[in-house]
């Protein structure tokens, strides 16, 4: 079923007309309400009237994650707080989170995007959807939740973790759709097997997986272990949350909700737009968002776009699974982690040096992070309890800043390799 056929199957001309109107309005609103972006436009010699069509988009300056930090927490909002009804946040590149605000209309639009995504995945109102994304500041849980309700499906808002209960409810309630990170779905599959639960006793048929990169091989493994169709959903809180794009049942790229977001692909080095079909960095301009509209936001995700009509009948442009990042962000168990966040924590503590090494592994199907930190000579204590206390303190600070647990290992000084150029801070042993 196609939820909004008029939009999802619109001709390219129709879509460009919708986008042009909304783009003009968005640029006007930001110019008049966000001093920092107005300044950027002025520096580029632009006024809102210079933007008349989607082709003019490339004249506009970019918005970066650092702009969100510089305007922390609410500086990029274009409406008064009385209009903001929800706040979400994700990792920033340093200690401060990246904050986004939604108006009532934003939430309604978001719910519709998720509903469209669910329909793409073949979910309908008779389905029972277990939402095992985290509920909270993370957009995954609540994003999926309201989309399911909007569709009329039955939602089980179980949130993340607690695998035993997940499996119990899956069995007892007859869950037909599971929404979580792909790595967690693999974990569920393993636990199912370990507990000797016959998957034919479950009614699961569709999985909606996102928030972290996964390969086609993982897809095959998930589909086999849970006996489902695994659908990829994409989103980022800066732009909206899950449902910015989603695969249809043909699993041939994720349809972008183009009536809300205009995608571009740029060369991350030259920052010039690339022709359709080339791999580059994905850039989004939001064109309906009221709370925090963003112009040419650099997602840092590398992908390519396909404007051909899909076998499902939709004309919404499709993006391929992300090929990687143009920055050093890691996605660990669905949580975005920047090495710079870890560095900030270590620098704030006088006992540690900023010499560290992050090792990411996938054990079983879950990611684990080990952090090697050098013990500074002046803080070396010959008492084990003091070194253990230091280790605990680092672990605790990282947990509260990053939102994930890190296995901290104290190592001898000068054992972490120094390189002349950019230090190698991350060893990612996962084969993503």
């Amino acid at each position: 079923m196609i939820w909004n056929e008029k939009i999802e199957c619109a001709s390219r001309d129709e879509m460009r007309d919708i986008q042009a109107e909304r783009l003009k309005e968005t640029v006007r609103r930001i110019y008049h309400n966000v001093p920092s972006y107005r300044q950027k436009m002025q520096e580029a010699g632009l006024v809102p009237g210079d933007i008349q069509s989607v082709d003019d988009l490339s004249k506009l300056p970019f918005t970066l994650k650092t702009d969100m930090r510089d305007n922390y927490p609410f500086g990029l909002f274009t409406v008064p707080m009385s209009e903001i009804v929800r706040i979400h946040a994700s990792s920033g590149t340093t200690g401060k989170p990246t904050v986004v605000g939604y108006t009532r209309k934003d939430l309604n639009n978001w719910a519709e995007m998720v509903t469209r995504s669910l329909c793409m995945a073949g979910v309908h109102r008779e389905d029972i959807v277990q939402v095992a994304y985290g509920y909270g500041l993370f957009t995954g849980g609540l994003g999926l939740h309201y989309g399911c309700e909007n569709l009329g499906a039955s939602v089980i808002p179980i949130s993340g973790g607690n695998t035993d209960k997940q499996l119990q409810l899956m069995e007892d309630f007859g869950t037909t759709v599971i929404a979580c990170t792909p790595s967690y779905s693999l974990h569920l599959g393993e636990e199912l097997k370990a507990k000797g639960i016959d998957k034919s006793k479950l009614k699961l048929r569709v999985g909606i997986f996102g928030a972290e990169p996964w390969t086609e091989n993982m897809r095959k493994e998930i589909e086999a272990s849970l006996g489902i169709k695994a659908i990829d959903i994409y989103g980022l809180s800066e732009i909206m949350g899950p449902g910015v794009s989603c695969e249809c049942e043909h699993q041939a790229g994720m349809h972008i909700m183009e009536d809300h977001f205009i995608p571009e692909i740029i060369d991350p080095e030259t920052l010039q737009p690339l022709p359709a079909g080339e791999i580059g960095e994905l850039v989004f301009t939001t064109i309906t968002k009221e709370g925090i509209p963003l112009i040419r936001y650099r997602t840092r995700d590398l992908t390519r776009l396909n404007y051909e009509k899909c076998a499902c009948g939709r004309t919404l442009v499709r993006m391929e699974k992300c090929k990687g990042r143009s920055d050093d962000m890691l996605i660990i168990r669905g949580v975005n982690v920047f090495p710079s966040q870890i560095e900030t924590v270590l620098l704030e503590m006088s006992e540690t040096s900023p010499h560290y090494l992050i090792i990411v592994e996938r054990e079983g199907n879950l990611d684990s992070v080990k952090l090697m930190v050098e013990v500074q000579e002046q803080f070396f204590s010959d008492e084990i309890k003091q070194l253990e206390a230091l280790r605990k303190k680092i672990t605790h600070k990282l947990q509260s800043t990053l939102g994930i647990s890190v296995d901290v290992k104290l190592v001898e000084p000068k054992t972490i390799e120094r390189t002349a150029g950019k230090a190698k801070r991350v060893i990612d042993n996962r084969n993503l």
């Binding site: 013990v375 500074q376 000579e377 070396f380 010959d382 008492e383 084990i384 070194l387 253990e388 280790r391 290992k409 104290l410 190592v411 001898e412 000084p413 000068k414 054992t415």
Partner: protein, 142 residues
Amino acid sequence: MIIKQLSVFLENKTGRLNEVTQILGNAGINMSAFSVADTSEFGILRMIVSEPEKALSILKDADFSVRLTDVICLNSPNEPGALARALNILSGENVFIEYLYAYSMDDKTANIVLKPDNIQKCIEVLQEHKMELVRASEMYKI
């Protein structure tokens, strides 16, 4: 009375202890007492050596995390109950021991290296009870 003990941070990996002993051996530094405390992640090597300051600087130059720690050494009769007597006195005076290691000199006496929380108080208490403490200069010579 106060003895400078050399403490070295060691990661749990093959060959590190060997490296320390080789460096000291090549520098002509003798070890008279030696203990390794280990956790699952790392170890701390504690030792009394013939030239603590020299050992400190050569190990530093070799990029080890190393420091000198003040300890005392109790010379006690090598007989049943001797250690218990000493510890009984210390606990009676609320002297807390962070760690200790001991070794027998011969069948008559044993040396007990102690790291108390309050080293001055520990020395006073032991001396009041006529316990024999080993001089640093003697200790380094062993």
